[in-house]
């Protein structure tokens, strides 16, 4: 072959095309084998959601029980200052639903305590602002954190309209009872933000979230995208509201009033 410009360009083109195809080809020749899969008992959904029946759980004591179930499973410390960490907590009506405050509201509704947790929004502002992608939304709608990546900038805390996030100002282990830890789950360290994870680690084993399990049927958890699921049935049959609808975040946590 004569070594001229024409043949060089042809060869270069061929090489470039080969480079584009090569990664795909090697992947295909490997049989497309992936070394990982979901567990056999794992629960799957298109969009996880939670419906809380506030007619059944509405006192501080009720919510304390659920909080204890959640916090003990996830090794969440109880710090007796403003720097407390909370995955699940309670608040009165005006804090929970500040946009739905009609005058002369039903005394019963106004007097209840409401269980709060991360809303696992459809449009999570915390995910949008996280500079390291430590917070991200899974395909099934759960907003989770990778604590390995969190740099503690607290943008997510500023972005979250629901106050669902807590920052570890100090070493959380200083406030945990180290003899009563759940040794199947890690703790966190100083300098990271943390929040409710909709119990992804339990769903992966086919279990319901800890608060749902402890609620004795007052909280329903399931797939919002499946029209035959129990959450959809409960939503159809009851009047529900969500927190701060004007924020446009589309929470996945619904409250039966």
């Amino acid at each position: 072959m004569k070594n001229n410009r024409r043949s060089f360009i042809k060869l270069a083109g061929l090489a470039a095309a080969g480079l584009c195809v090569a990664p795909k080809a090697t992947l295909a020749s490997g049989g497309g084998h992936s070394p990982v899969k979901a567990g056999p008992k794992a629960e799957h959904a298109k969009r996880w959601a939670m419906v809380i029946d506030t007619r059944k759980v509405h006192t501080e004591e009720d919510i304390k029980v659920l909080q204890h179930a959640c916090h003990s499973v996830h090794n969440v410390p109880d710090i007796p200052t403003k720097q407390n960490i909370k995955w699940l907590w309670s608040a009165p009506y005006e804090e929970c639903f500040p946009e739905q405050q009609n005058p002369h509201l039903d005394d019963d509704v106004k007097g209840r305590s409401y269980m709060l947790l991360c809303n696992h929004c459809e449009n999570p502002p915390c995910v949008r602002v996280c500079p390291t992608k430590a917070t991200f939304k899974r395909p099934d709608g759960i907003v989770v954190m990778d604590y390995h990546r969190c740099i503690g900038c607290r943008y997510c805390m500023a972005a979250c309209p629901y106050g669902s996030r807590s920052f570890n100002f100090g070493e959380p282990r200083d406030y945990l009872d180290l003899t009563k830890l759940n040794t199947d789950f890690p703790t966190r360290m100083r300098g990271v933000v943390e929040k409710c994870n909709f119990c992804v680690e339990r769903l992966a084993k086919g279990l319901q979230p800890a608060c749902v399990e402890a609620s004795d049927g007052a909280i329903v958890f399931g797939d919002l995208a499946d029209k035959d699921s129990e959450v959809r049935k409960v939503l159809r049959e009851n009047f529900t509201i969500r927190r701060k609808p004007t924020a446009g975040t589309e929470p996945s946590v619904y409250y039966i009033i």
Binding site: V36, A42, D146, H148, L181, D184
Partner: protein
């Protein structure tokens, strides 16, 4: 030469400090750390060679697979399945962080931050 004496003394001290680790260790043969291997399990997740040189890459991949992709079962080269978990898989065989992890890590002078959050099998104090 201005300040010649001081400069030479300085150089001697500097070189002395620089060589002190070698002088300190001269004549001592390097001894590989002795790990306590699990008693009732002979095979790790992957081969010994792979685990020895690549366990950190594997742990990084495990983290992303479990956390980001939600795939918590790992299938190794022999087709055997493992739950992806440092606390609940690795440390169920390697029952002591002090007798296993720390031995090499201290020897090599590395301090990974796994145990800032993960709970070692010995428990916390």
């Amino acid at each position: 030469m201005h300040y010649g004496g001081k400069i030479i003394i300085g150089i001697v001290i500097f070189v002395g400090l620089l060589l002190s680790p070698f002088v300190f260790n001269v004549g001592k043969a390097y001894k590989q750390p002795e790990l306590k291997l699990p008693a009732n399990e002979k095979k790790c997740v992957e081969s010994l060679e792979f685990m020895r040189t690549k366990h950190m890459q594997l742990l990084n991949e495990w983290r992303d697979w479990a956390l980001r992709d939600g795939k918590r079962v790992y299938v190794n080269h022999e087709g055997k399945e493992f739950e992806i978990s440092l606390q609940n898989t690795c440390m169920k065989c390697h029952k002591s962080k002090a007798d296993f992890c720390d031995k090499c890590h201290n020897d090599a002078g590395v301090s990974p931050y796994c145990w800032d959050c993960h709970i070692q099998p010995e428990g916390l104090k």
